[in-house]
């Protein structure tokens, strides 16, 4: 943190990781981390956009798992609830960056694991972290640990995290997020090295007392927890993928906390039913139109530029997002290092310029396809793009795909235009990682290949000077836009509602940190 973390405000969003790990999370349109909650006596009812998939942080698929893991496991540091990104102590009593590649820490002495697995030691920290990067674990979350080399145990509850190279996202992703969860070495080894859908040993303020698949996950107060007592006796996490349905549940008083759809923001601004409160948070998602650079029809750069200029972002924001969100300039949201104040192309369409570029391109009778996922927000956006492109004479056919087919697009050679949205964690490193040459055909669906971009992605992760790092990421996004393969649209927003009686503890992007939720 001595690094850069305190200075940049980051937003984070974790759905990206859901998208990457499962393909599906991102498919769930609107919700990325939401919580819902109905104050019933001493039970907090929150809504999640998906069902729990594992109790093993190494195999966590993202927000849906972390919402549970965050309450039943401890980390050295946790995200701090509030409007600005930052962290606070959890299992650590001391943590300090001694030099760019060494971080010393000391653990509290009053944290114990359930099921008789004893108190938390530095060995557990070492085991948990090194397990993530061990190939034998096959953890999809390994990249979050970046350049971690190993952990040196220097005492019963003291140790040093050793990096191979400076890793800026350590304080924003690696330690306070999924990979930072500390599991019990003895318990995991006793279970054969893998945790399934039941926890083998927990240490947090809550215990996962029950899981009814597709229906409900229940967290119950841990009687042996010695830290600050959580406010709620029970937390019920209900998996509901559709925000609209969650809102119905909220309004019917069955949920206490949930993310809501952008279409409902205006209505909730006027008043939230049942004495509830609306909180509008920025979001880290990024939505864009991509063009497949490998496709024969999209070889002409002037044509791609014509398309960039012909897409009118304000119309999209108005019709598909109800005017509740801002236009974006790239893949890095405001609040993160590297966010561009202005893109190379203004959000408003410039039809004259587009028509001129099209004419210069020499292309006539252009007809293209645009792939979108089958959610109303995206199909609405697609239809506006279809209409605006038609005005400069480009015919667009919209392919609506269900999420399973959509997330296979990386290997789809016939892909032309695509309306895509990725989620994000609060570090710019996370955004650029999907657009390197290496990722072409995997998550870089535009097949954007640029040596300078690849180099920046690598160098910026090791750059510890925030200002320098920001400039690097700004340049990276210029390169993307210059290729003509990207038209950035929005970062969306993350509005949530909670019922009366709940004091939410949220990350700056509106995701709930349930262990810190209070009540009035």
């Amino acid at each position: 943190m001595k690094l850069e973390y305190a200075k940049i405000t980051m937003n984070r969003r974790s759905v990206l990781r859901g998208a990457s790990a499962l393909g599906v999370a991102a498919a769930l349109p609107a919700t990325f981390g939401s919580q819902a909650y109905a104050a019933d006596g001493n039970t907090l009812r929150v809504r999640s956009y998906g069902d729990m998939s594992t109790m093993d942080p190494a195999h966590s698929v993202g927000v849906v798992d972390e919402e549970i893991h965050g309450s039943v496991y401890n980390k050295l540091i946790q995200y701090k609830p509030g409007k600005e990104w930052g962290w606070q102590m959890d299992a650590a009593t001391m943590i300090e960056q001694v030099d760019p590649t060494h971080i010393k820490f000391a653990l509290r002495d009053d944290i114990g694991f359930t099921n008789g697995f004893g108190s938390m030691s530095a060995e557990d920290v070492k085991f948990s972290y090194e397990r993530i990067i061990d190939d034998a674990t096959a953890s999809p979350n390994k990249p979050d640990m970046g350049s971690l080399s190993h952990v040196e145990v220097t005492g019963e509850r003291e140790g040093t995290i050793v990096l191979n190279a400076p890793f800026a996202p350590l304080w924003s992703i690696a330690l306070p997020y999924i990979t930072g969860n500390i599991v019990s070495k003895a318990a995991v080894e006793a279970a054969g090295g893998r945790i399934g859908t039941d926890p083998v040993a927990e240490s947090g303020p809550y215990l996962r007392s029950n899981w009814a698949p597709k229906s409900k996950t229940t967290l119950t107060r841990n009687p042996d927890w010695k830290g600050d007592a959580p406010a709620w006796d029970n937390i019920e996490i209900l998996p509901i993928d559709d925000e609209n349905t969650a809102e119905i549940g909220f309004e019917a008083g069955e949920i206490d906390f949930t993310r809501v759809s952008l279409g409902s923001v205006e209505r909730y601004r006027a008043g939230v039913p049942n004495g509830g409160t609306l909180i509008e948070n920025p979001s880290l998602y990024y939505l864009w139109v991509g063009m497949n650079l490998d496709h024969p029809k999209l070889q002409n750069k002037k044509l791609r530029q014509a398309i960039q200029y012909a897409i009118d972002v304000p119309s999209i924001l108005e019709a598909a997002y109800f005017g509740a969100v801002e236009a974006s300039t790239g893949i890095i949201a405001p609040g993160l290092a590297g966010n561009r104040a202005k893109g190379l192309i203004a959000p408003e369409a410039d039809f004259a310029k587009a028509a001129q570029l099209l004419e210069e391109s020499g292309e006539t009778n252009v007809s293209l396809t645009l792939d979108v996922i089958n959610k109303t927000t995206f199909t609405t956006t697609a239809q506006i793009i279809q209409a605006t492109l038609a005005s400069i004479g480009i015919a667009l056919e919209i392919n609506v795909l269900e999420s399973g087919a959509f997330w296979e697009s990386g290997s789809n050679e016939n892909l032309q235009l695509i309306l895509n949205r990725y989620s994000m964690t609060p570090d710019p490193y996370y955004a650029t990682s999907w657009f390197t040459s290496e990722q072409a055909g995997i998550w870089n669906w535009e097949k954007f290949r640029n040596d300078e971009f690849d180099q920046i992605h690598k160098a910026a992760a090791e750059e510890t000077d925030v200002a320098k790092r920001a400039v690097m990421y700004e340049r990276a996004q210029d390169l993307m836009e210059e290729s003509g393969a990207y038209r950035f649209i929005t970062h969306e927003a993350s509005p949530v509602v909670h019922s009366a009686g709940v004091i939410p503890a949220l990350r700056p992007d509106g995701l709930g940190l349930y262990r810190y939720f209070g009540k009035t």
Binding site: N244, E247, S261, G263, S264, R267, S315, E318, A319, A320, F322, N374, K375, T376, T377, T379, T380, A382, Q383, I384, Q386, A387, E397, I398, N399, V400, L401, E402, G404, A405
Partner: protein, 292 residues
């Protein structure tokens, strides 16, 4: 499920009799009027819609009903009434080919089963029973995932799931007719199989199937709407009743009119075709009634 063996092939004048019979029945007449309205408005849709159903006007989006927009506008400011009318065309574009296709294939297979050798009969029945045993929506989901959503996919799915119904009925009819006196007489006189099947049996079977088809159309329309509701139907910006419902559900607290505008025609069409089908059945073959 017997058709009187003395039934002779239906003639033109018989069609008139059937129509007259339907018109005498108040529910039948009502069904005829509703179905007629839907069909005619679908045929003439291009000329009678007040607005271009895909023209956007974002300024005027999500409005309630008014004189300018009888059913309001959707999230892109498109006139919902125009989209409902055009949606009727899409509904029929799915329903008619699917039903006719299923009827033709079912009829052929059913007659083969009923007239052919026993082993073939058993095989075809097994085929029918197998298709029928998949829950329709789950089957449809799998197929749509396989080939991607489009109008044609929906038609194929609907067709595939309807074949067994027609096949089984056609088979039963064929079996019954096969042993009836007038067919036996024809056979003893040395008539060719093609003549027996084509001239004597087909007209008798097709009437029954036509009634089934009329009663089947609402189910087909509802299935198309259901698939579109799940986001697996026709491509935008094509207006369809199911797509209206899908968008309407997503925006239901912003404007209830989309759901109403999408649901109403489905309910109306269902009513119309059911009335018409029942009335047809009573006129064509009152005995069918108890077996349906």
């Amino acid at each position: 499920m017997t058709v009187a063996a003395t039934n002779t092939p239906k003639s033109q004048s018989e069609l008139g009799i059937i129509l007259k019979g339907v018109c005498k029945d108040p529910l039948g007449l009502m069904g005829l009027i509703i179905v007629g309205t839907i069909v005619i408005s679908a045929l003439l849709a291009t000329w009678i819609v007040p607005y271009d159903p895909i023209a956007m006007n974002i300024k005027d989006r999500m409005q309630g009903p008014s004189f300018a927009h009888l059913l309001g506008t959707d999230q892109l400011g498109r006139d919902t009434f125009s989209r409902v009318i055009m949606g009727g065309r899409v509904a029929l574009k799915v329903a008619l080919p699917a039903i006719f296709g299923a009827m033709a294939i079912g009829l052929t297979l059913g007659m083969i089963a009923g007239y052919g050798p026993k082993w073939l009969d058993n095989l075809l029945m097994l085929f029918f029973d197998t298709i029928r045993s998949f829950p329709t929506v789950m089957f449809a989901l799998a197929v749509v995932a396989l080939v991607g959503p489009s109008l044609q996919t929906v038609v194929i799915v609907v067709m595939a799931t309807s074949i067994p119904t027609y096949g089984r009925v056609a088979r039963t009819q064929t079996l019954t007719l096969r042993n009836s006196e007038f067919i036996l007489a024809e056979r003893s006189m040395g008539a060719k199989m093609s003549r027996i099947l084509g001239v004597h049996m087909l007209p008798n079977i097709i009437g029954v199937l036509a009634v089934l088809a009329a009663m089947d159309i609402p189910g087909v329309i509802a299935l198309e709407a259901g698939l579109s509701f799940l986001g697996l139907g026709v491509k935008p910006p094509t207006p369809s009743w199911g797509a209206l419902l899908k968008d309407g559900y997503a925006l239901i607290r912003q404007t209830p009119w989309l759901v109403i505008a999408g649901g109403l025609p489905i309910i109306l069409a269902t009513l119309g075709f059911t009335f018409l089908g029942e009335s047809l059945r009573d006129v064509v073959d009152p005995k069918l009634r108890k077996n349906r």
